[in-house]
């Protein structure tokens, strides 16, 4: 890549600007991808309503921010979306007895459509945006001659905090360990006295909360519209697989890697090829490392899905 850039007489500033632009989109992919891992860690399923959690969180945050200060609005959005996550589990998942993974996946797809259409009716079809956490739309930071929006740093910072918190939670707390145990072997976990059902509910809530936080953090950059969830979720899902499902740290690294890859592909190729490039790289990586860049091959072989 650097050689082809050099032949075009690209200065360091421009090179670094592409880098920062990659970080910008990569930070969004990363924060979206994290949410996928939690439900997967407990239930072994991919929650296809994750994109809707993002948008729902963003929408609630925007509505609340009209009369609440921003931090409270975001907290409110996280709590309400968490409640929705619990409700979804209660209404659609909890009464199933030993459901297959496939059935659960299809239920989450149905739930995503339900949330999307509900949002269309509660709000409307219009595009909204949350205010920037610091500065405004036009503020940008100059680093080594290149520019980046302060909101990107917020997204990166929040991703980092979530990842660290999740790692601590899953490793150190009893509930976190119980959730991991349910993921590894639900029957064995139940035999050990873990309430597997409660762990699933909890994972839906946690995942919804992280989705809502991510939705608020990226809203100033991407804007929020009721039907944006699915395309965002696809990117997040891609990144989660690329990194290795279930691993939040890997999701962030993979997200940034994909963002950088896309930014540098734009530098040398027409923009129209961007998705072709990223999907091609994903396929190649999955051919050689089916469990993702950082996934554990043996662990993933034991998974049902």
């Amino acid at each position: 890549m650097p050689t082809s850039l050099a032949t075009r007489d690209v200065s360091f500033e421009q090179f670094f600007q592409y880098f920062l632009s990659g970080i910008t989109s990569g930070s969004m992919y990363a924060i979206i991808a994290i949410g996928f891992n939690i439900i997967y860690n407990t239930t072994g399923i991919i929650n296809f309503a994750q994109g809707e959690f993002l948008i729902l969180g963003g929408m609630i945050g925007i509505s609340l921010s009209s009369f609440l200060p921003l931090p409270l609005a975001i907290a409110g959005a996280v709590i309400v979306t968490m409640g929705v996550g619990a409700l979804i589990d209660f209404l659609f998942i909890s009464w199933l007895k030993g459901p297959s993974v496939l059935r659960l996946v299809i239920i989450t797809i149905g739930v995503s459509i339900l949330i999307r259409e509900s949002m269309l009716h509660i709000w409307d079809e219009k595009v909204r945006t949350l205010q920037h956490f610091t500065g405004t739309e036009i503020s940008s930071l100059k680093i080594l001659g290149a520019y980046i929006s302060p909101q990107v740093l917020w997204v990166l910072g929040i991703s980092a905090v979530i990842v660290v918190a999740l790692n601590l939670f899953f490793r150190l707390t009893l509930v976190g360990r119980a959730m991991r145990a349910c993921s590894d072997n639900r029957t064995a976990a139940r035999l050990c006295g873990i309430r597997a059902r409660r762990m699933v509910t909890f994972s839906f809530m946690l995942s919804a909360a992280i989705g809502a936080l991510a939705g608020c953090a990226i809203s100033p950059l991407t804007q929020t519209q009721y039907n944006m969830g699915a395309p965002m979720a696809i990117k997040g899902f891609t990144v989660a697989i690329l990194g290795g499902l279930g691993n939040s740290t890997a999701a962030v690294i993979a997200g940034l890697a994909l963002g950088l890859l896309e930014a540098f592909s734009i530098a040398v190729l027409p923009l129209a090829y961007i998705d072709a490039v990223s999907i091609a790289v994903l396929l190649v990586i999955l051919f050689f490392r089916p469990s993702g860049l950082f996934g554990n091959r043996e662990a993933s072989a034991l998974k049902e899905f």
Binding site: V10, Q14, Q17, Y18, L20, S21, G22, T24, S25, M28, L120, D124, E125, K126, V127, R128, T129, T136, E137, I138, S140, K142, Y147, I148, S149, I218, L221, T222, Q223, Q225, N227, M228, P231, M232, E262, A263, I266, A267, P270, L271, A272, I274, D275
Partner: protein
């Protein structure tokens, strides 16, 4: 036998419920001596182009209610049938067939997007049903299909206005980005066609996915080419993202947008980054500041105030395209004095001087749009509001 008659009764009831004037405001046919006239509308009320279709549908509902309260068009109450295509060409096609074959409507208003309009252009032509498209692409009326008309200004006029403004500003080297939709690709083609005529060099032209959420990558590429201005041509929320990303990248060059920017929501979404955006647009958004002798002023102010009072949201030029389609149809029915398809079609083709929201329509057999270059003004954003560029 008895069972059969119950079935017939049930069917009649069902048909009655389905075809009851759900959308036709007011009780149709109170004292109207003449039969109702059915008007179909295929609009993207929800989905990706809902910001076009929703104000269009609202505008039509408002107009039909008013018209029926005033005794209909030439004594015919209007029965409006709105179909939500969700901006899908497949849905538009099946709704068009349904409206033509089952409902046998006099005319179809819409679709909202260029892609859908092109998808049903031939269907309406073969089905001999009037189509009044609310979409912008020039190809809808070029080549002319005898039953197909469109109300928004042509793409080429927008391109010409942008280039003229650039000449005034001394800009000669530009970058173009366009959304990957019928509208975006059509606009990019027009820009590339007219640029040499105005001595403008397009240093780089890129197409982005219409759902894009971050465009800093491609804008970095534009920045590296030292362009003197950026033109963005899209109908998607990306219009605000381009503006924001340019400022985030520290780009100071002017941003030109297409006439698809005519919605104050995009200005709000882009916030301070929207300041200084220049774009061609009809006069609806600056109705307040038009000189009193402007022939459109009264109509624009009445539409704007009625719409905003009724729906509690800002008027957009897109609803205006449906407004124009309806008044053209109304004028043609009144002129021909019938609701016969071919008579009304002939009447549309000979309408002159119809004042609409987009401009003054002078429709002819060779021009199924009827708007002139003067239907556009160059607007800019100042203090979060649209204003005339010249002022």
């Amino acid at each position: 036998m008895k069972k059969a008659s119950i079935m017939v009764l049930a069917t009649c009831l069902l048909v009655g419920i389905v075809s009851s004037p759900l959308f036709a405001g007011g009780e149709a046919g109170e004292a109207a001596a003449k039969g109702p006239v059915k008007v179909g509308a295929i609009l993207a009320v929800t989905g990706g182009a809902s910001w076009l279709g929703a104000p269009e549908a609202k505008t039509l509902e408002m107009l039909v209610e008013e018209t029926n309260a005033a005794g209909g068009i030439d004594g015919h109450p209007v029965q409006l049938i709105i179909k939500d295509s969700q901006a899908s060409a497949e849905k538009a096609i099946s709704f068009a067939k349904q409206l033509i074959e089952e409902e046998q409507v006099l005319a179809i208003i819409g679709p909202s997007t260029s892609g859908e309009s092109m998808a049903i252009k031939d269907i309406c032509q073969e089905g001999r049903t009037i189509l009044l498209s609310c979409a912008a692409a020039e190809t809808i009326v070029d080549p002319v299909a005898s039953y197909v008309f469109k109300t928004p200004q042509k793409d080429s006029y927008a391109a010409i206005w942008i280039f003229k403004t650039m000449q005034d500003m001394g800009i000669s080297r530009i970058g173009v980005v366009a959304g990957n939709t019928g509208f975006g690709n059509g606009g990019k083609a027009q820009l590339e066609k007219y640029a040499p005529e105005y001595g403008i060099e397009i240093a780089i032209a890129e197409v982005y996915d219409s759902g894009a959420t971050d465009l800093t990558g491609v804008l970095t590429k534009l920045k590296a080419r030292d362009v003197e201005a950026v033109v963005n041509w899209s109908i998607v929320p990306a219009q605000s993202i381009v503006a924001k990303n340019m400022r985030q990248l520290g780009m100071e060059v002017p941003l030109f947008q297409s006439h698809g920017f005519g919605n104050i929501k995009y200005v709000e979404a882009a916030g301070e980054a929207a300041e200084g955006i220049i774009f061609p647009c009809g006069r609806l958004l600056v109705a307040d500041v038009l000189p009193a002798d402007n022939p459109q002023k009264d109509l624009l102010i009445s539409y704007k105030s009625e719409y905003e009072a009724r729906y509690g949201e800002d008027v957009s030029t897109f609803g205006g395209h449906a407004y124009d389609a309806f008044i053209i149809l109304k004028a043609a029915i009144e002129k021909s004095g019938t609701v016969e398809m071919d008579d009304v079609r002939d009447a549309i083709e000979s309408l002159q001087g119809v004042v609409g929201t987009a401009g003054i329509f002078n429709i002819s057999a060779s021009d199924h749009n009827g708007l002139g270059l003067d239907s556009f003004e160059m607007l800019t954003v100042k203090d979060g509001k649209f204003t005339l560029l010249k002022q």
